[in-house]
Symmetry: C2
Subunit: 565 residues, 2 copies
C-alpha cells in the first residue's frame, strides 16, 4: 500500500512509500496524523494550503461486513478545526484495490471544474465544465456513462462548487447511487475550492488488496459475521434502519421537534421506522426496507424508500434526516421528508446541517414551521446560491449569526443531529467536547442503560463512546460493526494480524481511539480552540425541553474531564 | 459619582456606591473591569446575560479639550471577545453632570422599542415604537422635539434594531448632530438586542461634576490647552481633519485601494484632505473644515462637509471612511463618499466595517468596484435587512464566510481600518494582537519615525502605542490629546490630583494602559481566545501589496511578545 499524493496545481501524482508513523493508522486516525504533520492549523480552510485526504480504514478493502468505510479529512471550513467525515459505499474498497493507503490532495486547480481519474495507470485529469452546477444524481449518471458503470466515484453537488459549508462529499453505494455522504463539516466545500467535481476510481485489472494470512482472515471474518448476525440490534437495524431511533428518541424526549423547542411529537407514528417499513413493504416495487450500502454487509441497515408508484424517492432515508428535515421543521410526512432528502443529496449538502439551518431560519421568520412549499423554495435557493440560499447553505451557525438568532443548536459551528442533548445528556457531552463539533457519530450514548436525564456519569459514558468510535473510525468500521466487535473483541486483533501480521493488545480499539482523539485535540489547540469551545450553547443550559423539562446540566468540570484518561 | 445600574427587564434603576476596585478607573479600563467582574465571557453577546456599559473617562465631564470621551463596553457580537468603542460628543459630559460614573444596562426588554431617559429624577422608560426602523438623523430630530433641544442622546439606527454586527451607537456632537459614533464591534446590535432605541440624558438642573482643587485644575487645564495649541500636528488636524492621513498613507503605500489589492491610487488628489479643505472653503455656506465634536476642544479636527449648495452632506467626513467607502471601492468622488457616509450614519453602521464588507462582496461578484449606484443599492439592502443586506451588515468576515471569499481584511472578525498592515507594519501588529480585533485606534503607529516596511521593531512600537492608547481611552482622552500630553505628561498627574485628589506616579498613563490591556486579554482568554487568533489573515502574509510589494512579515514570536512587559 502506498501514499498517492496529488498536486492539483500541477495536476501531478507522486506515489510514495508510507512514512514511518503512518503505517499503523488508517481512516480517521490517519487523516488526523497527516493533518497534524502537514497542514498548518490556522490556514484558510478553502485556500490552497489546506489538504483533502481520503483514507480507507485499517480493515477496509476486504469486504468484511460493515468495515469498508472511507474517512475523508481536512481542516473544516464549518468549524475551523479538524474534520473527519466517513461514509460507506464502494470508494474505500476501490482505493484499497488500487493499493492506495491514503490519497492526499494538495494545492488547488485555479480554473474550471475537473475530474480526477485514478486507475492502475495512475492519475489523470479531465475537464468537466459541462457538469458545473449539475446535481449529484445527474452528474453520477453522466460520469458512469463516461467512465464505465463499474467505477467508484466520490463527488460533490452544486453546493460544493459554491463552497457552502454544509456541502459534503457523496460516494456511490453498491448500486451506484450517490447516497453515501461524508456529509459533515463542509468537506464538499473544500473539494469545490480545489476545483474538483469528482474523483473517479477505476480498479479494474487489480487483484484486490493483499492479505498476509488468508486462512486466519477467513476464520476471523466468520467469527465477526456470526457475531453480527446473532446480535439482536442487527435485526432491528435490518428491519427498520436507523429510523428505529425515532420511537426511542421520542420516548426519551430527545427528538428534535419544532426547532428544538420540544423533544417529542404526538405524530410519532407517522414518521416512525415501523411505519416506514410498513410503507415500503406495502408499496413494493423497488422499495426495500433492507439494503446494504457496502458489498458484503450483513446488517443492511440501509433502505430504498419508494413512493406510491414503488419507484425510489430516495435511498436511504435515515433517522437523522427525519429528525432534522422532518419533525424539526414540523413536517410529518415521510414522502415529503424523502423528497427533501433527495434534494439535499442532489445539491450535495448535509441534511442535518440543512435541517438545523432551516429551523434557525424559521425563528428569524424566513419560513413558517410546517410550510412545505417554502422549505422546497429555500432549498432551491441553496441550489442556486442566492444570498438567502448561501446563508442557509452555510449552516445553522451562520444562519443564526446573520439573522441574530440565539437559539442555534450547534457546537464549534456544527449543527447537532437528531438527539436533543438536554434529554440524552451523554450525547450532549459528545456534542460539547468532540474535536469534530456537534456530531452523534463521534460518540452516541443513547443505548446505554442509564438514566439519560441524570447529569452524573454522562462524561464517563461519552468518554468511552468517543474513544470506541474514534477507534472504529480508524478501523473503517461502521458504528453498527460495534454490535459484533463488542461481543467478539478479539476479532479485531485477529483481523489486524491476518491482514498485516501485526501483534496488538486486547485494547487495540481503545488505543487507536485515544491516539486519534489526542491528535485531533492537538490540531484544534493549534487552531486556537480552548475549553471555552467545549460547551453547548448557553440557551440549552437554560431553556427546559418538554416533555422532560430538562436542561443540559452536566457540570463544566465533567466536560473538562472527558479527555483525562 | 455613583454607579447607575439599570435592570431593563424590570425597567428599574439602582444607584450604587462605586465598589472598591472600580474607583480609580474610568472609560475603557472601567468597562473592562466590569465586564470581567460581571459578564461570563462565553455568554451569547445578544442575549440577556450580556451587559452594555457606558463609562465616561476619568478626565471626562470637565470640558477639558479633547478629554470628554465616552467609552461603551460589552461583549462584542462581532468578535466574540471584549469590546470597547469610544466617541466624542456630549454624552459623557452629561452623564458626568448627573453624577454617573458608569451606567450599566443589564438584562433586556422583551417587547417593543424604548427610550431610557436619565435625569436628576432618575430613570424612566418611554415606548418609542413609532421610531422602529427610523434613521438616526430623523430619530434625533424627533427625540430632540420630544425631550428638548439640550439633551444628550446615545442612539442606534435601523441596523442596531436588526442586530447587525456592524451597528454602532451614535452620540450627538455639540450641535446635536448624531455624528459621534462608538462604531466598532457591533455595540449597536447589543443595544438593539436589549430593546433600546436611545438613551436620552437630561442634565438640566445639575451643577456640573465636582472638582477637588479647582484652582489646580484651572492651571493644569491651561498647561494642556497651551501644549495642544502649540503642537504642529494640532494645526494639521484643525485644517485637514483626519483626512490629512490620505496623502500620508498613499505615500507610504498603505491606502486601501480596490479591495485592499493596492496601497495607493493615482487619484489621490481627488480624495485628499487638502482637496477636501479647498472644497469646503470654496463652497462656503455651512461647510466648515474646522469643527469641534466636543465643547471646549481646541483641536477641532472635525468638519462639516457641505455640498455644492453649501448645505451639509455629512459631518464629519473622516479619513477612515474615505479609505474604506472610497478608494477601497474605487470611488474617488468626495461628494459621493460623503453621501455614503451619511447613509452609514443614518442606518447606524460602522463605515469601516461597511466599506470592508462591500469590498469583500465585490470579490464575490455582488458589485463592481466603482459602481456607485450599486453601492447605494446595497446600502439600502442593509437598511431594509434583506438577506443580502444582512450579510453585508454583519460585516466583512461574515460576508467572506457566506460567499467563500478568502481575501477578507479582518482580525478576530473585525475589519481593518484604512491602514494596510502590509505597508504600515506596526499598525499591523496592533491589528493582529489588540484584544479589540483589527482597530487602528487601539495603537496607530503611522507617525513613528521608522521604516514602516521593516518587520523588525514593529512589535515594540505597537506595544507602546497600545499601552498609551488604552491609557488615553481610560482617561477619556482623544487620540489627539496625546499631542498635548506627550509634551506635558505631568499634566495627567496634575489633573487627576485636581479632580480626585489622587497622588499618582509619572507613568500613570502607562499604568492605566497596561492594567486595561491585561483585563481585556483575560476576558478574551476566558472567552476562548489564544495566540492563534492574534494573527493577520494568511493572505496578507503572502500577497504582495503594490507599490511597495510588501507582505506582512512580522515574526510570530514578535506578535506573541507584545504583551510581555
Amino acid at each position: 500500500m502506498d501514499v498517492w499524493r496529488i498536486n492539483l496545481a500541477e495536476k501531478s501524482l507522486q506515489v510514495e512509500a508510507v512514512p514511518s508513523g503512518w503505517e499503523k493508522l488508517g481512516g480517521r486516525g490517519l487523516t488526523a496524523r497527516i493533518l497534524l504533520d502537514e497542514v498548518r492549523a490556522t490556514c484558510y480552510p478553502l485556500g490552497s494550503e489546506n489538504k483533502l485526504i481520503f483514507a480507507p480504514g485499517l480493515l477496509s478493502g476486504h469486504r468484511l461486513s460493515s468495515c469498508d468505510r472511507l474517512s475523508v479529512g481536512s481542516k473544516s471550513p464549518l468549524t475551523g478545526g479538524i474534520k473527519e467525515a466517513n461514509a460507506g459505499g464502494t470508494t474505500a474498497i476501490d482505493l484499497s484495490r488500487l493499493g492506495i493507503k491514503v490519497l492526499i490532495l494538495e494545492n488547488k486547480i485555479s480554473n474550471g471544474l475537473w475530474v480526477l481519474h485514478l486507475s492502475m495507470e495512475g492519475a489523470r485529469f479531465d475537464s468537466v465544465d459541462d457538469l458545473i452546477g449539475v446535481g449529484a444524481y445527474e452528474s453520477t449518471r453522466l460520469l458512469l456513462d463516461r467512465y464505465g458503470s463499474r467505477v467508484s466515484i466520490a463527488l460533490i453537488g452544486p453546493s460544493g462548487e459554491l463552497k457552502l459549508n454544509s456541502a459534503g462529499i457523496l460516494n456511490l453505494d453498491k448500486d451506484r447511487v450517490p447516497s453515501r455522504i461524508a456529509a459533515r463539516g463542509g468537506l464538499g466545500a473544500v473539494m469545490g475550492s480545489k476545483g474538483l467535481k469528482a474523483i473517479v476510481i477505476d480498479a479494474s485489472g487489480t487483484t484486490g488488496p493483499s492479505l498476509l494470512y488468508p486462512e486466519e482472515f477467513r476464520q476471523a471474518k466468520q467469527i465477526l459475521t456470526n457475531a453480527l448476525l446473532d446480535h439482536p440490534q442487527s435485526m432491528t437495524y435490518r428491519d427498520f434502519g436507523t429510523a428505529a431511533m425515532a420511537q426511542l428518541c421520542n420516548r426519551l424526549g430527545g427528538l428534535p421537534t419544532d426547532g428544538f423547542s420540544k423533544g417529542s411529537t404526538s405524530q410519532i407514528e407517522e414518521i416512525s421506522g415501523e411505519h416506514m417499513r410498513e410503507l415500503m413493504l406495502e408499496r413494493g416495487g423497488e422499495s426495500n426496507p433492507t439494503h446494504a450500502c457496502m458489498p458484503g454487509c450483513v446488517i443492511r441497515c440501509s433502505n430504498i424508500y419508494g413512493g406510491k408508484d414503488g419507484r425510489p424517492i430516495v435511498a436511504p432515508l435515515e433517522y437523522e434526516t427525519i429528525g432534522l428535515l422532518g419533525t424539526n421543521l414540523r413536517i410529518h410526512d415521510l414522502d415529503i421528508v424523502a423528497q427533501l432528502n433527495w434534494e439535499a443529496n442532489d445539491i450535495g449538502v448535509d441534511s442535518i446541517e440543512l435541517g438545523a439551518a432551516l429551523g434557525v431560519a424559521a425563528q428569524a421568520g424566513i419560513l413558517d414551521l410546517g410550510d412545505i412549499d417554502r422549505v422546497f423554495e429555500l432549498i432551491d435557493d441553496v441550489r442556486k446560491g442566492t444570498p438567502l440560499g448561501r446563508i442557509i447553505g452555510n449552516g445553522a451557525t451562520t444562519t443564526g449569526n446573520v439573522f441574530g438568532v440565539e437559539r442555534v443548536p450547534s457546537v464549534k459551528g456544527q449543527a447537532m443531529s437528531a438527539y436533543d442533548p438536554r434529554a440524552i445528556k451523554g450525547t450532549g457531552v459528545t456534542y460539547a467536547t468532540s474535536p469534530q463539533g456537534a456530531d452523534h457519530t463521534a460518540g452516541l450514548t443513547i443505548r446505554a442503560k442509564v438514566n439519560q436525564l441524570d447529569p452524573k456519569g454522562q462524561a464517563d459514558l461519552s468518554r468511552m463512546a468517543q474513544i470506541n468510535m474514534a477507534g472504529y473510525d480508524t478501523l473503517g468500521a461502521c458504528i453498527f460493526a460495534g454490535f459484533g466487535f463488542s461481543t467478539v473483541p478479539e476479532s479485531i486483533q485477529q483481523l489486524l494480524h491476518a491482514i498485516y501480521g501485526w501483534i496488538s493488545e486486547a485494547n487495540i480499539l481503545q488505543q487507536l481511539g485515544k491516539q486519534t482523539l489526542q491528535m485531533e485535540r492537538k490540531f484544534n489547540t493549534l487552531a486556537g480552540f480552548t475549553k471555552a469551545q467545549d460547551r453547548l450553547p448557553d440557551w440549552m443550559t437554560k431553556e427546559a425541553l418538554p416533555p422532560t423539562e430538562s436542561v443540559f446540566d452536566v457540570a463544566e468540570e465533567d466536560l473538562d474531564s472527558v479527555f483525562n484518561w
